[in-house]
Symmetry: C2
Subunit: 176 residues, 2 copies
Amino acid sequence: MTRERKGLVVVNTGNGKGKTTAALGVLFRAWGRGMRVRVFQFLKHTGSRFGESRAAEKLDIPWSALGDGFTWLSKDMDRTRALAREQWERCREALLADDHDVIVLDEFTYPLHYGWIPVDEVLDTLRARPHMLHVIITGRNAPEGLIAFADLVTEMREVKHPFREQGIKAQPGLEY
Amino acid sequence: MTRERKGLVVVNTGNGKGKTTAALGVLFRAWGRGMRVRVFQFLKHTGSRFGESRAAEKLDIPWSALGDGFTWLSKDMDRTRALAREQWERCREALLADDHDVIVLDEFTYPLHYGWIPVDEVLDTLRARPHMLHVIITGRNAPEGLIAFADLVTEMREVKHPFREQGIKAQPGLEY
């Protein structure tokens, strides 16, 4: 058995909680080791002030969110799509530069799932990235091609959820 | 539907990756909001220098590990059990004091699963904790009673794992 050291492509998918949160945990851990980390968020509103972006700011972790808060009710889908493409262009540049140890592409599965960004284009970029660069991709409905390519895939499966079952509000700090 | 605000008991269980990591992500997020967070680790070697404990040190997050690196090959099970009990006594004190917003009990399911700490004793303590305190418990084989009591339970299910499938070494920063 070879005991190779190389950058991994990690996918956190499934309908349960913890996909983005586990990516943040890796960030925390890698930052603790002095590694160069960076986050790109898709879809979420540019300028949203969640706990994670506040923490990143305090720790000087580069954090780029570009989106218009896409939901199923979004009216201007062309704009949502264009922002996702634009964000992907920035990611691609960062993935190919040799400036980081861990890059998180948060909620990136959605533009792939909807066909706004071709999966093949993404796999080509991942193949061309520096050998030791870890990439973490989060979101539901990770496309088959990405799962086949990834080194480590975890499905977060919802066993019990307080919103639906008890009518509990999302809690700051815990969930955003 | 009531929209209550209260501290949640969160359980990350299952055989996949991301249980501890997602707890670290909550820590990162909550710390970003200026919340008072604290971690208790079970079983892991006291004084282990993982990326997460280094990050916690830099951020001044209280981090208590007490254990002797329990594995299936451990020779002195009495000692392992005694350390787990001792760590639980410390946790109980912290859970009942009104000093924190989020407390992580990492790998806490194991001493419960092995019967070293009675589940009922833990549930009584959780019931008696301050109303707004979030508690995150990680580890495989979460006992039924804990799952029934918890507000949010996620199973991390392994879809693809690089160690077994490709013979890749655990990567610092990413996994520890």
